[in-house]
Amino acid sequence: MAIMRQIQMVFDLNKCIGCHTCAMACKTMWTDRDAGQMHMYWMNVETRPGTGYPKDWENLGGWFNADRNTIPLPHIHEGYGTPWEYNYKEVLKTEGGDTPAPKLIPSPDPSEYPYASNWDEDVGKGTFPNSYYFYLPRICNHCTDPACLEACPRQAVYKRSEDGIVLIDPKRCRGYRYCVKGCPYKKVYYNPEEKISQKCVFCYPRIEERKGNFCSTQCAGRISWIGYADDTKSNIYKLINTWKVALRLHPEYKTEPNVFYIPPLSPPTYSFTSKLTDSPRIPIDMLAKMFGDTHDQNYDQRVTRIKQIFDILQNERNKVASGGNSELIDILISRSEADRFQI
């Protein structure tokens, strides 16, 4: 079926403070129901550089960029992390008791499976004073060419013609997990209790009511914009196409993701002699290996684009700093919800 419209999303990584309010909003809204969803974060925020969620997902492969027979299926404990419970009742004495100062202890013991969805938060890389990291919020990319859809032998995965949102029909799904293998972003999850695969639904019931998806509306940093790709008046269109400051995450996976990122600026590094250099702390090399416009862009073109985006952002900042106006900075500040959600 032809896709009549495509919803898109932009995250400004310069504004993400890593508070995980988006992840918690999503968790509360969608995956707080049964035991089979405990390990799932349809929206997660990971620290970059880092191992991500599920662990090392960038090295697992997907339907269009790996040998389909060798793509591994992640493990819940080792890959997504054990969903720990804490002894809050005991510590907070909500059920009485007079245990002297009990310690807050996670169970099962994390040493058994030393990984979790946010295991390496804020670790980053680099040596003081040039250490660096940034946050990467991730949802399903609702790709134009969804690898999960392609991988499903039962047509259980479909892309809605009215907005391009990619969904799994729970009645068609038989839990074969080809979609989990297929998605190179590992944004399809398996629910071992329900015995079906599940994923981000882009809060489609809210989109149908012209409300923003929950991760966006709850975002404390107001880092995201949503709108339709063909709406030339929308801020999302301006960020992606007019100002050209938003890039796709791993477009080389060839799925044409519809979530875009404004790459993170960072302070300059110090030289050995404590002088400020011209190089940003977050290496352009690292960003160029993550972000780009299209799947056929090469590494050098990506480096050029990221530098170009940094120049645009810096120029527009300078304009405003010296008392001028900037449409781009106005959009990025996003004073009201109406600036961010144009659906």
């Binding site: 339907w63 039962r154 068609r172 074969y176």
Partner: protein
């Protein structure tokens, strides 16, 4: 349905008539007096993108016995499985499964899940579901569990012991469901079997071994 004279062929199975009640127990006397047919499953399905069963792992033998008492029909299946795969509590794990397929409205249908105008009726069992499902297929990728109450009439027994799976499936011979085949005495039906070996990133969906069409005669 025309009669097929297949006596003596390993592809012929006779549903023996037993007078009186038959139970789902594997030690029910009905099974003692019923000869078994050993069916070899050796056809690998090729499904775009999906893994195929590894070469050398495609010859599987299933012991089949079928009885009926004029009211209910019972299918007794047994096959070797050194390690039972029942629990699916991680992404990588898949359970052992088995299915039997019969053309739904035509004498013959394409063995690979039928076709739109030649649908098939499948009874699918998977170790972790621990319940048989009545399914209708009209081509690869189209199978659907029937939701009508009339087709919720299948009962089963499953047990793994000493390296052998035993699965017994029973259903009324006559059904009011348009998603099920009704069995008539003296008629012959085509029947195909499928087997999935569970385990890590193991067989599921089209990644399975099937038999050729077999001929089930209802005595």
């Amino acid at each position: 349905m025309p009669d097929h004279d297949l006596s003596g062929s390993s592809r012929a199975i006779t549903a023996v008539y037993i007078q009186g009640p038959v139970t789902l127990a594997p030690l029910d006397p009905a099974w003692i007096q019923t000869p078994e047919t050993v069916i070899t499953l050796s056809r690998r399905i090729h499904e775009t993108g999906a893994k195929m069963v590894d070469m050398g792992n495609e010859n599987r033998r299933i012991k089949v016995k079928v009885v009926h008492n004029g009211t209910d029909i019972f299918f007794f299946y047994q096959w070797d499985e050194s390690t039972p795969n029942v629990t699916v509590n991680d992404y990588s794990l898949f359970a052992d499964a088995f299915a039997m397929e019969i053309p739904l409205i035509t004498e013959v249908s394409p063995i690979w899940m039928g076709a739109k105008d030649k649908p098939v009726n499948i009874i699918y069992w998977r170790a972790d579901l621990a319940r048989p499902e009545n399914i209708v297929g009209g081509g690869i990728g189209t199978t659907q569990i029937s939701s009508d109450t009339e087709s919720q009439n299948i009962r089963h027994y499953q047990n793994w012991a000493n390296g052998v799976w035993t699965v017994i499936i029973t259903r009324p011979m006559t059904t009011a469901s348009h998603n099920q085949v009704s069995f008539v005495r003296s008629a012959t039906y085509r029947l195909a079997l499928a087997n999935w070996k569970g385990g890590s990133d193991a067989e599921r969906g089209g990644n399975k071994i099937i038999s050729d069409w077999l001929y089930l005669f209802i005595k």
